[in-house]
């Protein structure tokens, strides 16, 4: 862990303006990604994971805005990058794998065009060279008949294949950071496994730092070195993967883990949790976001400001009760 | 936004620039063309006409146009100023004492535009093909009077008539059908009524390019025997609508507006008042009139006809529709024509008299109803006019509005020219716009035609059938045409024209004139005696 982190997120705050008011979507989020390591980000939908990913690419939608914090990439704050500089970083330095491979590709353009346009955007090569490169990388991803594949349209391929094409495109530019936003959600189990293997191979082979975003703890457990759990825009718990799974400290993490392990055993409890609506993020006081759903909460929880405290080495928790 | 605004603005500005250049380029090209046409050698006169010039066949009618037929084909004799018959393709002629034989001595220096010779044989051939379709030309008495045609020698042609028909020479000046096409123009069937192979004539102009319903280009006939035209080319553009023609003229897309009814009186006045152009009005050429269909029950009554004559405010039409550019007409033929100066009392505008006559005719105003009635029938009269003729339309609407005040319901029916004439010949109208035929047809050809029952005669025949004196009039007309005695002729004409006037079957409105509007760089515009001829030969372009 002594390595210099490639990407450091410090105290990131993102607000999103909606017709109903301003939502504080991401609150005080900080983490680091190191070369060759996988940083996992877990949380339910709406917890701010996707916004965090977008901000790393400087691709927040118009309504969203970083109001505080910095994102240091190789010791420079990418929030200050010009659009053109940032564009050059995207894909080549910080690459992405999209959530749903079926919709990530333009249906009226062939795989080859997608691949080649990406390569030629970042590398000074001819179309022909780009095509050869594309074929080589598709082969590396164990995709059959790569030459043929380049001529095909996205809808002619399965989700798993498309996901692998995406990884191939990513690899071809040898980025230092890969953001994988729910890379396996849209896939079936076999494909999931294969994709995870390939991601793992990728970080070993190319020493790429991966930000792995998922709502699925299983995926995280397989691949991540360090995990952060997000809830209501906050990172509520952050720890190396084994510590988190062995000793979950935050009540939300515990619920997550329990719901995963004990699908059959403690059904009643889960139902109870689900019945509570997700947190309302508008005009929220700076109190614990999990308050309404927390089994252990009491009056103290609503009266104290929250801070991320180090419970043990590298294990940070945002809960009054965890001390 | 991820697309940089500056980029976007650049690309849009670029697009606009391209568009502007495109547009500017277009307008420039037209100007350039004009410039070059000014500087370059060929002198071009651009003219416009409301319809296609047709197949340019001198022996047939619609869609042929008088003016274009006159450009390419020539007569044996020419109708000159004041009705003087001048030599043309015939250098001279002799008439036998009994008036039944006409011998023409043809010019020898005349060639058709394809180089073939003009001689007595081809004259005979043309006469014979026209005679073979005599029923098509029934309106023209000469055709009916021709007994035979003869080639005397190479340059002498003889015409034998049944009876001594006095207007023979006058009718030979007509633009159609007795003009001449070359041998090469005859179709395989040798019957020109079925169409020509190509328009080959002797005239000063040769058709060189033709796009149907768009334009026709006439080039100067370099072998022309007579005075050669001053301009090299005449472009005739088809512009159906008068207003469009004015616009095109103002934009110098055309050089000359010429004719009668080709633009509205309002536009003529507008162009005249602008002072930017030259305008001319010819002497009266023909009479604009309404024809009453005496075959219809209501109009059979002379009282109603007289009432309408008195109800019509001619002066208002002259002043406001014609801006005084046309003269008021009181008789069917202008008095300066031969035999037409008759002494009759004109029908003056008199509303009270008109009302009284209407009441007398049994058409009574009923309280609460806008129109007069007789035996439960409303007084509705159908007025037929040509939809593209602005003047007819304006007068028609004026009549409709003005007669409404008297309780007469005028139903306007507008039709395209071709349909209009078909309807007119069928007699499906109460009132019809008509005009006398003008020089050189008036009065003898016009009157001759109204005695002809066929559809190739005149719509007047059917329309006048309701007159008790119809038969008598027809007899007299036939008689006058064959009379050799000048005094008798005078008397008969006076008799006929007086009867027609007193029967109130024609409502003369005005003496129409040709108008000419042209740009200041055009010279040599003068009106030719025949109404339908356009003086292309004398026109020059600076």
């Amino acid at each position: 862990m002594g390595q210099q982190p490639i990407l450091t997120v410090n105290n990131l705050n993102i607000d999103v303006s909606t017709p109903y008011g301003v939502t504080r979507t991401v609150r005080d989020v900080s983490f680091k990604i190191e070369a060759g390591k996988v940083f996992g980000l877990v949380g339910e939908s709406g917890s701010g994971k996707t916004m965090t990913c977008m901000s790393l690419l400087n691709l927040l939608p118009d309504e969203a805005k970083v109001v505080k914090g910095s994102i240091q990439f190789r010791n420079k704050d990418i929030l200050n990058y010009s659009e053109e500089d940032m564009r050059k970083v995207r894909g080549s330095e910080i690459a992405t794998i999209m959530q749903n491979p079926m919709t990530a590709f333009n249906p009226v353009r062939t795989i080859g065009r997608h691949f080649i346009e990406t390569l030629r955007t970042h590398l000074p090569i001819t179309k022909h060279q780009a095509r050869e490169m594309a074929v080589a990388y598709l082969e590396k991803m164990d995709l059959p008949y790569p030459k043929n594949l380049l001529k095909q349209y996205p809808f002619q391929l399965s989700g798993g294949m498309l996901q692998r094409v995406m990884i191939a495109i990513t690899m071809s530019l040898n980025p230092s950071i890969l953001i994988a936003d729910e890379p396996t959600t849209a896939l079936d189990a076999t494909n999931q496994l294969q994709i995870l293997k390939q991601l793992n191979w990728l970080r070993k082979e190319y020493d790429t730092g991966i930000l792995l975003v998922s709502h699925d703890l299983g995926v995280i457990a397989q691949l991540a070195d360090e995990v952060a759990v997000m809830y209501g825009g906050y990172i509520v718990e952050k720890a190396p993967v084994f510590k988190l799974f062995n000793r979950p400290m935050h009540p939300y993490t515990r619920v997550l883990l329990e719901s995963r392990i004990g699908l059959t055993r403690r059904k009643t409890k889960i139902v109870k949790h689900i019945s509570v609506p997700p947190p309302n993020l508008i005009n929220r006081e700076n109190t614990c976001p999990f308050l309404e759903r927390c089994e252990d909460a009491d009056h103290t929880c609503s009266s104290y400001n929250l801070e991320l405290k180090e419970y043990e080495k590298d294990h940070l928790v945002r809960c009054l009760k965890s001390r | 936004m991820f697309l940089k605004k500056s980029q976007l603005v650049t690309s849009i500005v670029g697009l606009l620039v391209i568009l502007t250049v495109f547009v500017a380029g277009c307008s420039n090209t037209t100007k350039d063309q004009e410039n070059t046409s000014d500087k370059d050698k060929p002198k071009v006169l651009t003219f416009s006409w409301s319809g296609d010039i047709g197949d340019l066949n001198p022996h047939t009618y619609f869609p042929n146009q008088w003016f274009s037929q006159a450009m390419v084909y020539e007569p044996l004799v020419y109708y000159g100023e004041g009705g003087e018959i001048q030599p043309w393709l015939a250098e001279s002629w002799d008439v036998s004492k009994d008036g039944k034989e006409y011998v023409f001595h043809l010019r020898e220096d005349v060639k058709f535009s394809d180089g073939s010779p003009f001689n007595a044989a081809i004259v005979k051939k043309n006469f014979d093909t026209v005679l073979a379709n005599a029923e098509q030309h029934e309106w023209m008495e000469l055709i009916n009077q021709i007994k035979s045609t003869e080639v005397v020698d190479e340059s002498t042609f003889k015409l034998n008539l049944h009876k001594p028909y006095y207007p023979t020479l006058q009718e030979l000046t007509y633009i159609r059908p007795l003009r001449f096409v070359g041998e090469g123009a005859f179709p395989d069937s040798q019957n020109t009524f079925e169409g020509l192979k190509s328009p080959i004539g002797t005239g000063p102009w040769v058709l060189s390019e033709y796009k149907e319903n768009e334009e026709a280009i006439f080039t100067r006939n370099e072998q022309y025997w007579g005075t050669k035209p001053k301009v090299d080319k005449v472009v005739v553009k088809v512009i159906p609508d008068g207003e469009s023609r004015v616009l095109a003229f103002e934009k110098k897309e055309i050089d000359l507006i010429f004719g009668n009814g080709v633009i509205s009186q309002d536009s003529f006045q507008f162009l005249k008042d602008s002072g930017k152009y030259e305008t001319k009005i010819s002497e009266p050429t023909a009479t604009r009139a309404l024809l009453f269909n005496t075959n219809r029950e209501a109009i059979k009554d002379i009282k109603l006809r007289s009432a309408l004559q008195h109800a019509f405010n001619k002066q208002a039409v002259i002043d406001n529709i014609f801006y005084g550019n046309e003269k008021k007409a009181d008789t069917l033929f202008a008095p300066m024509l031969p035999y037409t100066n008759i002494s009759v009392n004109p029908y003056e505008y008199d509303v009270e008299k008109a009302k009284q006559l209407l009441d007398e005719a049994g058409w009574k105003q009923i309280k609460g109803k806008p129109f007069r009635e007789k035996d439960g029938e409303t007084l509705q009269l159908e007025l037929l006019f040509i939809s593209t003729d602005n003047i007819q339309k304006a007068i028609a609407e004026f009549i409709q509005g003005d007669f409404r005040k008297l309780g007469i319901d005028i139903k306007l029916t507008s039709q395209e020219e071709e349909t209009f004439w078909t309807t007119a010949y069928q007699g499906d109208f109460d009132l019809l716009f008509t005009a006398s035929w003008g020089v050189p047809f008036d009065p003898h050809s016009y009157l001759s035609a109204i005695t002809k029952s066929s559809e190739n005669g005149s719509p007047d025949y059917k329309a006048l059938l309701g007159l008790p004196a119809k038969k008598e009039i027809d007899e007299k007309i036939k008689e006058v045409l064959l009379s050799t005695d000048e005094e008798k002729r005078k008397m008969l004409y006076e008799d006929i024209l007086t009867t027609l006037h007193e029967q109130a079957v024609y409502l003369p409105i005005s003496y129409q004139s040709n108008v000419a509007v042209y740009h200041k760089n055009i010279s040599g515009i003068n009106f030719l005696p025949q109404e339908y001829e356009v003086p292309f030969t004398s026109i020059n372009v600076k």
Partner: protein, 275 residues
Amino acid sequence: MKNVKRKLLSHKLMMISSMIIFIMTLLALFPPFLAPNDPNLIDITHKLQGSSSKFPLGTDHLGRCILSRLIYGTRTSLGTAFLVMGLTMMISIPLGIYAGFRGGWVDYLFMRMCDILMAFPSLLLSLALIGILGPGLGNLILAMVLVHWVFYARVIRGMVLSVKEQNFILAAKVCGTPRLVIVIKHILPAIISQVVVLVFMDIGGVVLAISSFSFLGFGIQPPGAEWGMMINDSKPFFRNAPSLMLYPGMMILIVVVAFNLFGEALRDALDLRRE
């Protein structure tokens, strides 16, 4: 916030457009009281005059009052448009419902007929019909109705199809309710609002079509006043008296815009989208 604003906006547009339509309806219903002069009174000595107290918008080429003709023209244009629409609906609604509700070969036959009739550009077919029937307002209406009913009947059939399978209809069927009763009590109310929206969305187009026909000389014959015909009449004068052409064109534009806005606002208000 944005949503509310949008609703308000559409409300505002609806207000404006319904006001225009209301005024136009008044003009169409009571021209004798509103028009300053007799629209057909010709006084040629007053031709092409500018505006005056007697003739607020001046006179035309025959000295008729332009304002009065415009007002009377409202009656012709709107009246004809509504008549066309009404007659069309009288054919389209029963036929559309019948085809949709009955289904089977009736529907199949109906659809094939639609395919064929709609294979012609509608204006051309109407024109051809007028060509055969002859010009005139009555024939114009007939020609338009004969051509347009197909389109509406087809749309209505589609509406019926989507309603037909809904539970309340199925329930009524199960209960043995007679078909006619189902149609009148259940289907008609279910589709009528959509039909009304359809009518208002398209009536502007009908006004346009009618004025186009009149412009070509196939509609009302003189002396009747109609906007399209007024434009045609003013052609010869449009340089010296451009207002002659301007006013009727503006009237058409305003009416059509108002109807289109109204139709759209109505659709948004009822939250209906056309297929």
